[in-house]
């Protein structure tokens, strides 16, 4: 028994020495954490999947089809955008800095006014200002990688060679929202109707405040014909009763989630007051 204990102590001592050396005798380097899932997915993503991602974004998160669709006529169709882009670069009206198709398409999404297709400009701007919001911000918030995925989709859609490269060191894409679902950081409610209209880019479609959108109904005197309940309902459920002459399903059904109750009431009050 005595021998057994001696051997046991000896062995434990040896193990402790080894473990101690590994813990304290050598510098502890913390290995890098595995690369973030989304980032890595891009890294190993095939172009085919990247295009698929672009398509999903185009029809979903990017809200592009809201305007770029054959029925509304409020924005140019993009089926051949990637091939047309080359001509656009040569166009004298072109204001931007892009020198390649990819750059042009990218620019058109973050700086829509760089080139406005004739007939699609903001009313009264003589096609120098685009009604399209910057999709990298304004609540759409596409990341760099997502914008590139959309470019890939557009190039593929046009039957052109996909020249955009798949980025890897990108901010997390939509996958993050689907899986990780981070708690939304509460936004401080906006305090003026003008700020709300600017924030939610109402003016892209509607003529309201100082905005001159022409896609949706003119709201400059909306308070004269509609009551607050109707206005509230139109904001919360835009398709409940679409105005005559305007197609249902055009206005995004997002405000019930994105607007705070305070903002909603303020906006309704404001609109109801426009007579």
């Amino acid at each position: 028994m005595k021998n057994f204990l001696k051997v046991l102590c000896f062995s434990l001592l040896v193990i402790t020495l080894f473990a101690g050396y590994a813990n304290y005798g050598i510098p502890q380097i913390e290995p890098a954490l595995p690369p973030v899932e989304e980032k890595l997915e891009l890294g190993t993503m095939t172009m085919e999947k990247f295009i698929k991602l672009g398509e999903r974004l185009y029809n979903g998160k990017g809200t592009c089809t809201l305007c770029h669709n054959p029925t509304g006529g409020r924005a140019p169709l993009l089926a051949s955008a990637a091939t047309v882009a080359a001509e656009r670069l040569q166009d004298t009206r072109y204001q931007g800095k892009a020198s390649s198709v990819v750059d042009y398409l990218y620019e058109s999404m973050v700086e829509p006014s760089a080139y406005v297709v004739s007939g699609f400009g903001k009313a009264g701007s003589n096609d120098t200002e685009s009604p399209m919001p910057n999709v990298a911000a304004n609540g759409i918030d596409l990341s760099d990688a997502e914008l590139k995925a959309i470019i890939a989709y557009l190039q593929d859609l046009a039957g052109a060679d996909v020249t955009v490269s798949i980025p890897t060191d990108a901010a997390p894409t939509e996958a993050k929202e689907e899986t990780a679902n981070p708690p939304p950081t509460p936004r401080t409610a906006l305090d003026t109707p003008a700020a709300i209209i600017a924030k939610f880019t109402c003016g892209a479609c509607h003529k309201v405040a100082d905005q001159v959108g022409a896609v949706g109904p003119d709201l400059t005197t909306i308070g004269a014909t509609r009551d607050k309940a109707y206005l509230r309902r139109s904001l919360l459920d835009p398709n409940a009763d679409a105005a005559a002459g305007f197609m249902a399903g055009m206005m995004p059904n997002i405000y019930s989630e994105q607007m705070s109750a305070k903002e909603l009431e303020m906006l309704v009050d404001y609109l109801a007051g426009l007579k």
Binding site: G25, E30, P31, L33, S165, T168
Partner: protein, 255 residues
């Protein structure tokens, strides 16, 4: 009279310790790192212990003075002194080690961090496993062109790199003294001679900010050269680095 074996053993250990310090710190002028020296001494002591205890007689002789100190009634006074001094020494040592000092914490940087599989530079992706120096082929096929390329690489080096890495490529350029970590010494056999050219391309193109986490802290002041040099210029500089130092890039193919 024969020296007691315990004293002999202690003297051997102390002698080796002093020898290390003497040789490295004074004769060679390159201090021996204390962390390494303590590991060295641990195993030197283990070795001395082995040599002094592999026979029964020798082992008995070695521990005899210790045994006598503990058991011999005639050594009571000495025993009491030792039993007070030893714990005091241990306590003093522990205090020394534990008391906070003004010394900055030791920072450790991996000299060769593991490269990523691919690296993005110049808006392109490079696969580091297969990436090769496009000019290396001329070494065989067109030596004159190769010489010219190396010379161009040398010019680029002198214009951009030598301020830190030195005109002898020894990491002792005019600004080197101000940098920590100090610039890499390409003459050292442990640096570029151990690496493939693709690794150098990665380190030059993405610089300090491109280091992976394990090479943290990211205090390397190596610029991101892809912002200043073209791809070809980097490859030419790499040719020059190997040519001037007389090293060969690591490669798994026989030539």
């Amino acid at each position: 009279m024969k020296m007691p074996r315990l004293l002999q053993a202690v003297l051997v250990v102390v002698g080796i310790y002093a020898g290390f310090i003497l040789v490295f710190d004074y004769l060679l002028g390159q201090v021996i790192p204390s962390s390494l020296l303590s590991m060295y001494m641990f195993f030197v002591i283990a070795g001395v212990f082995m040599v002094y205890t592999y026979t029964e007689e020798s082992a008995r002789e070695l521990v005899a003075p210790i045994k006598a100190l503990v058991e011999d009634p005639g050594k009571k006074r000495l025993r009491n002194v030792v039993f007070i001094i030893v714990p005091l020494l241990v306590a003093g040592f522990t205090y020394q080690r534990m008391s906070p000092s003004f010394e900055a914490p030791v920072e450790l940087r991996s000299i060769h961090p593991a490269p990523p599989a691919t690296v993005k530079a110049y808006g392109k992706r490079f696969n580091l496993a297969t990436l090769e120096n496009p000019f290396r082929q001329y070494e065989k096929s067109d030596p004159d062109k190769f010489r010219a390329l190396v010379r161009e690489g040398g010019d680029i080096y002198i214009q951009n790199c030598q301020y830190c890495h030195g005109d002898k490529l020894d990491g002792r350029g005019p600004y080197a003294a101000g940098l920590n970590p100090t610039p890499l010494n390409f003459q050292d056999v442990g640096t570029i001679a151990q690496l493939q050219e693709s690794f150098l391309f990665w380190r030059i193109a993405t610089g300090g900010p491109g280091l992976p986490k394990e090479a943290a802290p990211w205090i390397s002041s190596m610029p991101v050269w892809q912002d200043f040099l073209t791809e070809d210029e980097i490859w030419k500089v790499i040719l020059f680095l190997y040519d001037y130092t007389g090293r060969r890039p690591r490669s798994w193919e026989h030539e």
